[in-house]
């Protein structure tokens, strides 16, 4: 078993050290993040493991705030006629009394960096390269540990990356990583660990393992998410309510409520899957309000916004989202049922179709969820998925997510699985007597999830 690599996350106050840790550990609750300087005043660690084996230990440290004075103080520590090197000077400083008083916070950082294999020096790329930052780097460099500068907030419009690159190069730090802890690039972690592997050749195998594992997990998350969305769509497509004409308005209301709740369930599951809490989504770009979608699913305006084309009846808002199968219009239903019957489960389909036909003769009507609502559900969940997969676990403010460009869901033919689901009311958890574990249902979910994952 290899010893975990120890990294100290260091930097000026308020540059996002704790945020970086949150993002790297995918732990939204790590430490405390706020706009105030010196929010973190202690050293706290987190461990990253693969297959139960600890590979990396990250330590969050307080921000350096008084580097100019500290450097001044350090330089005065040399006794006359003596020339100390960095670590020796630091050792003398850490033994002295100022390490417990004025420079108490700085001493914590230095102690931790000395105990680590390397440091990640976090930089707020929006800041100008001030003398205090240069002094900070000089103090940190005297620890004799490799430092990897991490440029945070590079997705901000007014960052000064070129200035920083130049300044760091002047200090002999040529390797650096751009990593926005709020909106980390998809390969951000990989690049960070690869750059680290350049600095720490011995740690390369474990860093590579970490990178590989994270890639695998990202894919697994995407696939799980696609399955969750596929289940939602199948549930809604197969949802079906028999209703006598008089109670139609009431039944439409109930159906909409059920679909909304089902969507909410999917949203919560997605948030959980990506390691976010429902309240984390609040007040953010995730097009959610308080962890739920702000725009109502059955509002014709919402459909228009996401570019789903709607038929006349729905646009008028008459029975928005609830397709009504009339006996005359039952042709479509009949055709779907027939297709389903051929596909398999003939007996069951025929039976349920029979009872439905009977209901129609008795003057009942069938309510289903309209195609355009299914499209909307698919679009919205995919938009959410996209937002979640690029969102850092440190994000507190909003990131813009473009309206998805997926034509397939907006206009094209709906996937075959949804047509099949239409003919299988027992596939929907929203219907009574649902048979959710039916092999055919799982097969269709699988197919649909694959389709969602691909496009």
């Amino acid at each position: 078993m290899t010893k975990p690599l120890k990294l100290a996350v260091v930097g000026h106050t308020n540059v996002g050290k704790t945020s970086l840790l949150r993002t790297l550990t995918r732990d939204v609750g790590f430490g405390e993040v706020s706009h105030r300087p010196s929010t973190t005043r202690h050293v706290e660690g987190a461990r990253l493991s693969v297959d139960g084996e600890a590979l990396l230990e990250l330590y969050d440290t307080p921000g350096l705030e008084d580097a100019i004075a500290l450097l001044d103080y350090l330089e005065r520590l040399d006794r006359p006629g003596e020339r100390l090197d960095g670590p020796a000077r630091l050792a003398r400083f850490l033994e002295g009394s100022e390490a417990r008083q004025r420079f108490e916070q700085e001493a914590k950082v230095l102690r931790q960096l000395l105990a680590s294999d390397a440091g990640l020096y976090v930089i707020d790329a929006r800041e100008p390269v001030l003398a205090k930052y240069r002094d900070e780097l000089q103090v940190l460099a005297s620890c004799g540990k490799p430092l990897l500068p991490v440029l945070n907030f590079v997705s901000s419009s007014d960052h000064r990356e070129p200035d920083w690159r130049e300044a760091l190069a002047r200090l002999g730090l040529h390797a650096l990583v751009r990593f926005d802890s709020v909106a980390p690039p998809e390969d951000g972690e990989r690049r960070l660990y690869e750059s680290l592997a350049l600095l720490l050749e011995n740690a390369r195998p474990q860093l590579e393992r970490l990178v590989l594992d994270q890639q695998v997990q990202r894919q697994a998350r995407q696939q799980s998410a696609a399955r969750l969305i596929a289940e939602l769509l199948i549930d809604c497509a197969a949802c079906r309510r028999s209703v006598v004409t008089e109670d139609e308005q009431q039944a439409i209301g109930d159906l909409r409520k059920a679909v909304r709740q089902r969507e909410q369930k999917c949203v919560e599951a997605l948030l959980k899957l990506f390691g976010f809490r429902p309240q984390d989504a609040a007040a953010s770009d995730l097009p959610l309000l308080d962890g739920r979608w702000g725009d109502d699913l059955f509002n014709p305006e919402t459909l228009k916004q996401l570019g789903v084309r709607v038929g006349g009846g729905i646009a008028a808002g008459a029975a928005a989202g609830a397709g009504v199968d009339l006996l005359v219009g039952g042709l479509t239903l009949g055709a779907a049922a027939l297709a389903g019957a051929i596909a398999g489960g003939a007996l069951q389909t025929a039976r349920s179709y029979g009872s439905r036909l009977l209901g129609k003769i008795k003057g009942q009507r069938e309510l289903t969820v309209d195609d355009s609502v299914l499209r909307l559900l698919a679009l919205r969940q995919r938009q959410l998925l996209k937002a979640l997969s690029v969102r850092g676990h440190a994000a507190m403010h909003s990131i813009k997510v473009d309206t998805p460009q997926d034509k397939t869901w907006r206009e094209g033919k709906l996937p075959e699985a949804l047509h099949k689901a239409r003919a299988h009311p027992q596939w929907s958890s929203l219907n009574p007597h649902a048979k959710l574990s039916q092999a055919e249902r799982q097969e269709q979910i699988e197919a649909l999830a694959q389709r969602l994952d691909e496009t």
Binding site: H12, H35, V43, G45, L71, P128, L130, G345, Q442
Partner: protein
């Protein structure tokens, strides 16, 4: 209780997943802890957890009962198969009073088998996983025989698990072909017994077909069994049997051997081969069965069972109180007015136009410039000092200490928090932090240049 085999473990794991999916998460703190302690890779831990939960909730016992039920159902089905196989043989040969019509006998022995074999093969090719009513019958029977509410998710779980590797068809194939093999075996045994203990004469009859057709059909059917050493009636025998049952021993024996041979080769052998093939595929597939970790139910367990990140806790605690910077004023004799800026970037034009009496001390950034100014101020303390700060920087202890030190060397100090450069806005939260920090230093501040005050000493 006997230890569970790998398939049963996977099955229970899947059952627990389904249960949690349908009825909400189970209370699993202990199970998770045990699974974490046991170690291993994620699937092992998930299984460990599931088995603990299954044991606790009686699912394991339910599984055992279900298996008993399944075995009982299998015995019942086997019994039915044996009886119906025997029935086939009896129906084929009749009571021995009338001569046996060979083709009728062949039809009743093999006809149904052939039809169902073809339908099974077609189902295998086209319908995928949904065919095989016999398999369903078995599942339904086992469920009825198990009679346990806890087992409600057991059968679906097995189906789902097997379906993922497309194993259903092979499992059902083993069952179907095995049962048919049994039925045909029983038919063969009864057939042999009857042939051994009774005397049957064999005939064939036709109204519209010629004798040659029968000769050809008989010989064609007998060709394969003949390879295995079964007698085929000679052409004369066949022709003669068309009129009436031949009462010679060799003809009876030849027909009987032909019948047994055809049953063996076209009835038993295909079923045996198919059963073995299905068994082989089943064994191979079964060995490849894994948990599908991409299922949402399992991927959510990852963080609990094998966290990719855990907090290590605080290893260097926060101090009770941070080093405190104090303000103050110079008691020395002071004169003049001075404007100084701290850590400005190039986006601020500096200095602003100053009245003649106000001196400009430039921008402080580096240590050298700081020390130089502080030294100068200590020697000639100004009466009025204005410190300009850019509130886009964060009010860190270093900057505040500098402000406090500057303030201590002047008789009166004001802080000027600069406006944002054109096109940018100040962060309200950060501005608030500045206000708080300056309040603590007891320094007055403003967001516009106090030039008037600098020049004259009052606003």
């Amino acid at each position: 209780m006997t230890a569970l085999n790998p398939l049963q473990k996977l099955w229970l794991t899947e059952t627990v997943r389904l249960r949690e999916e349908h009825a909400g998460a189970l209370e699993d703190l202990e199970a998770n802890r045990l699974a974490r302690t046991a170690g291993g890779d994620l699937p092992t831990r998930i299984q460990h957890r599931a088995l603990h939960l299954a044991e606790r909730d009686g699912l394991t016992a339910a599984l055992t009962r279900w298996l008993q039920g399944a075995r009982l159902a299998l015995v019942l089905l086997a019994l039915v198969a044996v009886i119906s196989g025997a029935g086939l043989a009896f129906a084929a040969l009749g009571n021995g009073l009338a001569p046996v019509n060979v083709f009728w006998a062949l039809g009743s022995l093999l006809g149904l088998n052939l039809i169902l074999l073809i339908s099974w093969a077609l189902g295998l090719l086209f319908a995928g996983e949904h065919s095989a009513s016999l398999g369903r019958l078995w599942l339904w029977l086992s469920e009825k025989l198990a009679r346990d509410a806890k087992a409600a998710q057991l059968a679906p779980a097995l189906l789902l698990l097997l379906q993922r590797q497309k194993l259903n068809r092979w499992a059902v194939g083993v069952l179907v072909n095995g049962l048919w093999l049994l039925a045909l075996l029983s038919a063969l045994v009864i057939l042999l017994t009857l042939l051994a203990t009774r005397r049957y004469g064999f005939v064939w009859e036709t109204t519209i077909l010629g004798a040659d057709t029968f000769v050809a059909v008989t010989q064609a059917l007998g060709a394969l069994p003949a390879v295995l050493g079964f007698n085929v009636p000679t052409v004369e025998m066949i022709r003669a049997s068309g009129d009436s049952a031949l009462n010679i021993e060799s003809a009876r024996q030849a027909w009987a051997a032909w019948l047994v041979g055809v049953l063996l080769v076209y009835g038993l052998l295909p079923r045996l081969i198919l059963a073995l093939l299905c068994l082989w595929r089943w064994k191979v597939g079964r060995a490849a069965l894994r948990l599908d970790l991409n299922l949402p139910g399992y991927s959510q367990l990852r963080e609990r069972l094998m966290p990719s990140s855990e907090r290590l806790g605080v290893n260097d605690a926060a101090p009770e109180q941070l080093h405190h910077v104090t303000g103050g004023v110079s008691e020395l004799e002071s004169d003049g007015a001075l404007l100084v800026a701290i850590e400005l970037d190039d986006q601020h034009p500096w200095p602003p136009k100053l009245p003649a009496q106000v001196k400009n001390a430039g921008i402080l950034d580096s240590r050298e410039s700081r020390n130089k100014l502080l030294e100068q101020l200590t020697r000639f303390p100004p009466a009025r000092l204005t410190i300009a700060c850019d509130p886009r920087r964060s009010p860190d202890r270093g900057s505040l200490a500098l402000i406090a030190e500057l303030a201590r060397s002047a008789a009166a100090t004001r802080v000027w928090l600069l406006q944002a450069p054109p096109g940018q806005a100040l962060d309200a939260e950060r501005l608030g932090d500045w206000h708080t920090a300056l309040h603590q230093l007891e320094l007055p501040f403003a967001d516009c240049a106090p030039l008037n005050w600098l020049e004259t000493g009052h606003d």
